[in-house]
């Protein structure tokens, strides 16, 4: 195939979709971020550390994090019934797991940090985009962290390993590998994979997703700095 690296939307194999992050978009929340990547529109609010009445979740020696990933009914082609389903419950859990290693909440025992991720519009890769936006909102809320966690996926489409799958690529592709890392150390905090990858394809996809995370990380940092340098 001539120009085999060219994808359905014209991107190179290692090219991200256009990405934009804004910090501090909500008034009530302690921290917030809005992220657009491709056709995804994601809003994240952070509250806390705050008191919680769900005592069984609290820990005597540290603060804890709780995530809620939710898709708006109008965010997808066929209206989604409001409320949690099995998919969003799983994503809520792994998002909390992905963010937790970076948090330094020892100074806030018996408190809770709430992360609310709202998918306003979905176009493939919402879990990674949600994690990326959530860690920016956490930083905006002043939550102490070791690093700003960042998410990005790679996958296999037309037997090629490509970065940041769009909705069409995700549907037609052979594999999807969402990843989240702490960029300073390169430690992995989220890894999923579905589909069909050989060992060498897997390592290629992982490297590519890592590379994508590093690119997204720069945009996160820029967005955070922009809030306090633009006036």
């Amino acid at each position: 195939m001539i120009g085999s690296s060219l994808r359905e939307d014209g991107r190179e194999y290692n090219e991200l979709r256009p990405l934009k992050i804004e910090v501090g978009v909500l008034d009530r929340a302690d921290g917030s971020a809005y992220l657009e990547v491709g056709g995804n529109k994601i809003l994240v609010a952070v509250y806390g550390p705050r008191e919680s009445y769900i005592r069984r979740l609290l820990k005597p020696n540290t603060g804890v994090i709780r995530c809620r990933y939710n898709m708006a009914p109008f965010s997808v082609d066929d209206r989604k019934r409001p409320g949690p389903d099995r998919r969003s419950s799983e994503i809520s859990k792994i998002t909390a797991d992905a963010l937790r290693p970076a948090l330094m909440l020892e100074n806030y025992p018996r408190s809770m940090v709430d992360v609310f991720i709202e998918v306003i519009e979905a176009e493939g890769g919402t879990r990674c985009a949600g994690i990326t936006a959530a860690s920016v909102a956490l930083a905006d809320a002043g939550i102490p962290m070791k690093d700003i966690v960042v998410g990005c996926a790679a996958g296999k489409v037309n037997n090629e390993i490509v970065l940041d799958l769009s909705e069409v690529e995700d549907k037609e592709g052979q594999a999807d590998l969402p990843l989240a890392i702490m960029p300073r150390t390169g430690e992995i905090t989220l890894l999923q994979s579905d589909g069909d990858l050989s060992e060498s394809e897997f390592s290629k996809a992982l490297e590519l997703a890592m590379d994508g995370c590093m690119q997204v990380s720069e945009i996160q940092k820029e967005a955070l700095r922009k809030k306090y340098t633009d006036e």
């Binding site: 100074n107 002043g142 102490p144 962290m145 700003i148 955070l224 340098t229 006036e231």
Partner: protein, 314 residues
């Protein structure tokens, strides 16, 4: 990143630089202060904030944070519940405070809700903090007790030193201009009382200081703004003044907290908690002053609100 040689050590940031969580600040020949942590030979920032360098100690002053009670702090709290032998207070924190009845009555028996009831706002001191951060509060101290009248303004607790200013320069200037009585709690709650219109102006000014705490020349800009609103004056030289500071703002480096930080750092050499003591002394002082609201008030400038509203446009 700038690599500055500091003797044999490496440092990658300047004083007052804006940093973000995980950012490497220096190698671990430096001392990690608040807002930083050590990781594989480096000192990194744990929060979004401004670098404060003193000798070989690096701190990061967070731009936002929640109040965690500390013994000796003075706070403003609101009664959220009345129990058998104590009041429970919301102190603008993940942790609640409690005021035991004996702190108020001694051994006397009285009905608690006849003294302080739900919704009352009090000026208190943190007497003790237990291992789960619950704060025991007391009222021993000048000016402590229940507020009557006035309004409450909340700011992020990390901006309290900025609101007070170097040796109280900011807060005294505001009091002087508005003739309002102002009490600042370490927990980010501020009580303002005076002429109704002045209360409103003071409230907006405090919010403006919170929003622009990280910019340079703030005390002078606030002073000019207050002069303009209250006296209706717009002296030519003051316009030049504004331009001068605008120039400064365009510099790539944030010259945040500038004067106040430097002062604070000097004082920190002697005592790490000196900044708090300064603020505390200031708070004590403000309670000694009489509250006179007899000054006549100039026309309020409606533009004022549009200036403040700017920050709402995200």
């Amino acid at each position: 990143m700038d690599n500055n040689a500091y003797g044999d050590f490496m440092i990658y940031v300047d004083n007052k630089d804006l940093v973000i969580p995980g950012q490497i600040l220096a190698d671990d020949e430096f001392y990690p202060g608040r807002g930083t942590f050590k990781d594989s030979g480096n000192i990194c920032s744990s929060v979004m904030g401004l670098v404060s360098l003193r000798n070989k100690k690096i701190r990061v002053i967070p731009l936002k944070s929640k109040y965690v009670p500390k013994k000796g702090d003075v706070v403003i709290g609101k009664i959220s519940d009345v129990k058998f032998s104590m009041w429970e207070l919301d102190i603008n924190s993940p942790y609640s405070g409690m005021l035991p009845a004996f702190e108020v009555f001694g051994r006397e028996k009285k009905e608690l809700n006849k003294v302080f009831d739900i919704g009352d706002v009090l000026f208190l001191r943190v007497v003790e903090v237990d291992e789960v951060k619950k704060a025991k509060l007391g009222l021993k101290g000048r000016g402590m007790g229940k507020f009557k009248g006035g309004v409450i303004v909340d700011i992020t607790p990390t901006k309290v030193p900025r609101l007070i200013g170097k040796k109280g320069s900011m807060i005294n200037m505001i009091k002087d201009k508005t003739k309002c009585n102002i009490v600042v709690g370490q927990n980010g709650l501020v009580w303002v009382s005076g002429d109704k219109e002045m209360e409103n102006i003071t409230k907006d000014i405090i919010k403006l200081i919170e929003a622009e705490a990280h910019t340079s020349g703030l005390t002078d800009r606030i002073k000019n703004k207050l002069t303009l609103i209250i006296d209706g004056e717009e002296a030519v030289e003051e316009e030049d003044f504004d331009d001068y500071f605008d120039d400064q703002l365009e510099k790539p480096k944030l010259q945040n907290f500038k004067d106040e930080l430097e002062q604070e750092e000097l004082e920190e050499k002697k005592n790490d908690d000196k900044d708090f003591i300064d603020s505390y002394k200031e708070i004590k002082k403000q309670n000694k002053k009489d509250n006179k609201n007899s000054l006549s008030v100039g026309k309020s400038n409606t533009n004022f609100y549009s200036i403040l509203n700017k920050k709402d446009d995200y």
